[in-house]
Symmetry: C2
Subunit: 199 residues, 2 copies
């Protein structure tokens, strides 16, 4: 017996392909879209179809961009001797929000993850090394996520650079501001101890 | 500085309207769709746009259907003197999977929730009462979710029926099969005690 209309079944199948969306969530989203305003659903569908339109990869830092060079790479007022290496374009947005960084970026497009078949060749690591060989860079900030994959990708990049004169740093590990020492996990707390700052 | 292409920004805005999708999830989904195969994204967008196509509400039980009457309401082999009242169409799928129920259904389209402005008039309660007044129904199973809203919606329906001769039941509350008594919440365990079955 066909209890679910075919258009609903097809949407659920497509939604289940999204990361973090299981069968229940897919059903819930489909019901929401079905019960809601049809023009709202159409706007979402249209936004997904048009997503790739006019979006390309900045040829220097590989973040997404509407032009050949992104807004930061083409800006006149950035500190051009520093590159922060991040995993994804939205990490740039987060760093820009701090207002503390004025250098350039390089987007890897993910992290090395052998279990998922993601090696260095699938990331923008070669293009980073090439950029560094081009000269003019004094500091490379490894701003990958503080996860096992993020840290090992950072270590891999450091190894690839060998004994280059470029200063290599990474973001400080420690207690998140506004956090509670009692509830900090022991690894973070250990890192905060190791990296204690003199007052 | 425009760090995010407008098509990506627009998709994130649309995704954030979905239930359970916050800014971070919306960003993650947008990145996934952007990095992935463009034809995959188009298939999803198309499925959302086509969702409402050919889908209507069964004029008797109000589940979604491709015809005027749904597959169950138009079936010849159902027990027509019993109606199970459910919240959403997928609850029918769940009950059908048990293989234990052969009656008809009635989909409320949600539950009463005064805080969200959902009163009885926004649900298919009047159409249920009308269906019952039509006669031929001996048992009404209140199969709303075992939540505060689900239970109070059930109670409301029972009140509306007044001293009708129709037998009104609800699904048993108790320990979920395969569960662990030690980890059952105290309300469920209390209900399991109250409703203990003789062996």
């Amino acid at each position: 017996m066909n209890l679910i209309p075919s258009s609903v079944e097809r949407l659920i199948e497509e939604l289940e392909r999204l990361p973090g969306v299981g069968p229940r969530t897919a059903e819930r989203l489909a019901i929401h879209l079905l019960k809601g305003d049809q023009t709202r659903a159409e706007a979402l569908g249209r936004a997904i179809i048009d997503l790739h339109e006019g979006v390309r990869s900045c040829k220097l830092c590989h973040t997404f961009s509407e032009d050949e060079l992104c807004a930061i790479c083409s800006a006149e007022d950035r500190t051009t001797n520093t590159i922060a290496v991040v995993e994804e374009p939205f990490d740039i947005v987060a760093l820009e929000k701090t207002g503390r960084y004025h250098g350039l970026y390089h987007v890897l497009g993910g992290v090395m993850s052998p279990l998922d078949g993601v090696g260095a060749d699938k990331l923008q690591i070669n293009s980073l090394l090439e950029r560094l060989r081009g000269g003019g860079i004094d500091e490379l900030i490894l701003a990958t996520n503080p996860t096992v994959e993020g840290e090992s990708t950072g270590l891999y990049i450091r190894q690839e650079l060998g004994n280059s004169p470029i200063k290599i740093t990474r973001l400080a590990r420690g207690l998140p501001v506004g956090g509670d020492l009692e509830y900090a996990d022991h690894i973070t707390l250990g890192r905060a101890l190791d990296g204690r700052e003199s007052l």
